[in-house]
């Protein structure tokens, strides 16, 4: 179906919803690289106005990526629940925005609506929202998941502790991990991005993480962010795998570029569930996404990068993950050019993921060839904290020495907690109090490592030295 709008004597025409969405999306270098962006600022606003008038029901018959050749599209179309959709079925995209912002859209109403929403619908409405709108609506949405602790409860904010090392050196990983725990990080996951890609290295890393977790009795989960096929092999060899990780994207072709399929993800989830390691819940998957992934795999089908990102969330929600995070500024300035584009994209991703029912986290980050700095990260993080983000990534001093990019530091999370009053996962908060690191309300005590931690840390240090 074609869309058009007349503005000041000019009629702007858009041949279909896919084109209308691409022209309506806020300015983004990746859409310009793909050659699908609006040609002028007025062109973009004309598209947004036409999109606001488009009926939400049009999305149920529109083609973004062909059904016949794309399993993500089939997942979206076949999984749509018309009964859940009914409350908003007669609205335009613009009216849907107003409904989301109104008191009618309560946490309960939004939860009931989830199975009736498609990724393209939530992407569309996000294009009509300002930053404050994206924060306001997302703040109403609650998605709670659990494995060894509970993530996403109201007033909570968790952190992934990311102790990466350029060569996966066990002592180097342990050093960053201890540092992060003593700064109160790690309730979302203790998660290493491996530099090495073998099964044996994967097993060594998850075993190390599991050793430290059990020795210090930390109520959290661990993860080596290797490829899903590596995780399956490690599980077969009896490795202590809590969460299975995988990068995913919004089309079958882009997922193939990551070396995964829906069937493979299902197999991995079954393997992780078979271990029965969760104590508080059974969410065993950890997914990473990010705008630009489908374009860089040349599998974006001329769909704008933000809509493709929302489609990745349809993949994620199928597998009931514990954690999903967009690595918003990681890929580079050819997709998100500067701090402004990263900020907007991070909030859009969080909003879309939450509306679709995902436990959304964000890697608030940038690379050095991007026009951004730590001030941009502070601004995005504080916006996300207010939007109710489930978790963020934290690394020592905000500098990842393996991936060569900058994220948030353990300190940044402490500061945001002080500013916003957000607390950690309850099980983790209780542990901090038990070992004498915190006061029970989530505030860290100043000074040295607590008495209760000393014997465990000393034993750990001894073991690491012995490994030299």
């Amino acid at each position: 179906m074609a869309y058009s709008i007349a503005l000041d004597g000019t009629t702007w025409r858009f041949p279909d919803l896919r084109d209308l969405m691409a022209k309506a999306t806020p300015r983004r270098s990746g859409d310009e690289l793909a050659g699908i962006a609006a040609e002028s600022a007025v062109h973009r606003i004309a598209a947004q106005m036409a999109l606001a008038d488009a009926p939400l029901a049009d999305f149920l018959s529109a083609t973004f990526v062909p059904y016949e050749t794309d399993d993500v599209t089939r997942l979206i179309v076949d999984g749509h629940d018309p009964a859940a959709f009914r409350p908003v079925a007669a609205m335009t995209v613009g009216e849907f925005r107003e409904w989301l912002l109104s008191p009618l859209a309560t946490a309960e109403a939004l939860a009931a609506l989830r199975p009736g929403l498609t990724p393209e619908m939530v992407a569309a409405v996000s294009k009509l929202m300002r930053v404050q709108d994206l924060v306001l609506v997302a703040a109403k949405v609650r998605v709670v998941t659990a494995f060894r602790n509970t993530i996403g409860l109201p007033g909570r904010l968790a952190t992934r502790l990311q102790p990466n090392h350029p060569t996966d050196d066990s002592r180097g990983i342990a050093a960053s991990l201890i540092d992060g725990l003593l700064l109160g990080a790690g309730d979302a996951v203790l998660g290493v991005n491996p530099a090495t890609d073998g099964v044996q290295d994967y097993i060594r890393v998850v075993t190390l993480l599991d050793d430290i977790r059990t020795r210090l009795k930390v109520p959290t989960q661990t993860c080596c962010l290797g490829h899903v096929t590596t995780a399956i092999k490690a599980i077969e060899q009896g490795a202590p795998v809590d969460l299975v990780f995988q990068s995913i994207a919004g089309s079958e072709g882009a997922n193939a570029g990551f070396g995964v399929s829906l069937a493979l993800l299902a197999e991995a989830r079954d393997a992780a569930l078979s271990l029965g390691r969760g104590t508080a819940g059974r969410n065993v998957m950890y997914f990473e996404t990010g705008q630009g992934a489908a374009l860089s795999a040349n599998a974006h089908h001329d769909v704008d990068q933000q809509t493709m990102e929302a489609r990745a969330y349809a993949v994620a929600r199928r597998f009931e993950p514990l954690l999903v995070n967009t690595v918003v500024g990681f890929i580079g300035p050819e997709y998100l050019y500067n701090g402004k584009e990263i900020t907007r994209a991070g909030l859009e991703d969080h909003f879309c993921g939450k509306l679709l029912g995902l436990p959304m986290g964000v890697d608030v980050c940038y690379t050095n060839h991007c026009d951004a700095d730590q001030d941009d990260m502070d601004a995005l993080f504080l916006l996300l904290a207010n939007a109710g983000v489930n978790f963020v990534i934290t690394v020592p001093g905000a500098d990842d020495v393996m991936l060569n990019y900058q994220s948030l530091s353990y300190h940044d999370a402490l500061g945001a907690r002080e500013i916003t009053g957000r607390r950690r996962a309850p099980e983790f908060e209780a542990w901090l109090a038990e070992v004498g690191l915190g006061d029970g309300a989530g505030r860290l005590y100043p000074g040295a490592e607590p008495l209760a931690m000393r014997p465990a840390l000393a034993a750990l240090a001894h073991r690491l030295d012995a490994a030299e």
């Binding site: 270098s29 310009e32 690289l33 102790p163 990466n164 090392h165 350029p166 050196d169 002592r171 180097g172 990983i173 342990a174 050093a175 960053s176 201890i178 540092d179 003593l182 700064l183 580079g332 300035p333 050819e334 050019y337 690379t367 050095n368 060839h369 991007c370 700095d373 730590q374 690394v395 020592p396 001093g397 905000a398 500098d399 990842d400 020495v401 991936l403 060569n404 990019y405 900058q406 530091s409 300190h411 402490l414 500061g415 907690r417 002080e418 860290l444 100043p446 000074g447 040295a448 490592e449 840390l457 240090a461 690491l464």
Partner: protein, 266 residues
């Protein structure tokens, strides 16, 4: 600011200072309330400034070409279709393309050439300025010892890795050895990467290349990198391929040779 018990700064516990032995990560920083101590904060901003300067710096192409000619190499300079740095970071596609007239010009002035050295700024001109000539000086005699010479050298501004493909194709090359500035991190802003591509043509997949990365004195020193690159070049020409089917096994040969031979470049 005091380090004392009643000061504003909460130093990291003394026992944690040991953590720094094990990693270059910014561990055991202490804290000022719930924020970074001033010194750690400023050190981070300094390292970020260095990395940013590395990205936005330019190579002195003329000087580099003269230096290559002084070493007896046929050398020329060119630029990708990304006109400036701002375009370059936004448009990786343009950074991989060579204007058609430039290809013809290179063919006239340098071609044909069996082994072509390409030096591109990539994401760190600082890496090229700091390490490219040292690597060339270590590499040329190693290639010569195998009976191979660098037949032409091209210095490229605003170049991505794949721009070596149209350059190599224009010159009829059997092998392109590309040296390029890597994406800088805060702990290293001057790492050089090397990519080898056998009989390149435009549109080659990256799986058809071999890579040697982190070339800098504190990473993989140029002398050691030259050994690996020469090994890969020799095997690429002998087996007529590069990429995932050519696994670098130079370490075995290295172990069999006296260390002095490596250091002297013999």
């Amino acid at each position: 600011m005091s380090d004392g018990d009643d000061g504003a700064l909460i130093p990291a516990p003394a026992s944690l200072a040991d953590l720094r032995r094990h990693t270059a990560a910014r561990v055991a920083l202490g804290r000022a309330g719930n924020a970074l101590p001033t010194a750690a904060h400023l050190q981070f901003t300094l390292d970020h400034a260095k990395a940013r300067d590395a990205v936005w710096s330019a190579i002195d192409g003329t000087r580099l070409i003269e230096a290559l000619r002084a070493r007896g190499l046929k050398a020329a300079g060119t630029a990708s279709r990304a006109g400036d740095r701002a375009t370059y970071v936004r448009r990786p596609d343009l950074g991989r393309q060579l204007p058609a007239e430039t290809a013809a010009g290179l063919r006239t002035s340098l071609g044909p050439a069996r082994i072509v050295l390409v030096i591109a700024d990539g994401l760190s001109a600082a890496a090229v300025e700091a390490n490219a000539l040292a690597l060339v000086d270590a590499l040329a005699p190693r290639l010569a010892a195998e009976g191979h010479g660098i037949d032409a050298a091209v210095v490229v501004e605003q170049g991505r890795v794949a721009i070596g493909d149209p350059i190599g194709a224009a010159l009829g090359a059997d092998l392109v050895i590309m040296l390029i500035g890597e994406r800088p991190g805060l702990s290293a802003a001057d790492s050089l990467g090397c990519y080898l591509t056998f009989r390149p043509v435009a549109g080659m997949p990256d799986s058809g290349r071999n890579c040697v990365s982190n070339i800098r004195p504190e990473g993989l020193p140029p002398a050691n990198a030259a050994f690996k690159i020469a090994w890969l070049a020799r095997e690429a020409l002998r087996r007529e391929l590069t990429g995932i089917d050519l696994k670098e096994e130079s370490a075995a040969e290295l172990a069999a040779r006296p260390a002095a031979a490596l250091i002297e470049g013999a």
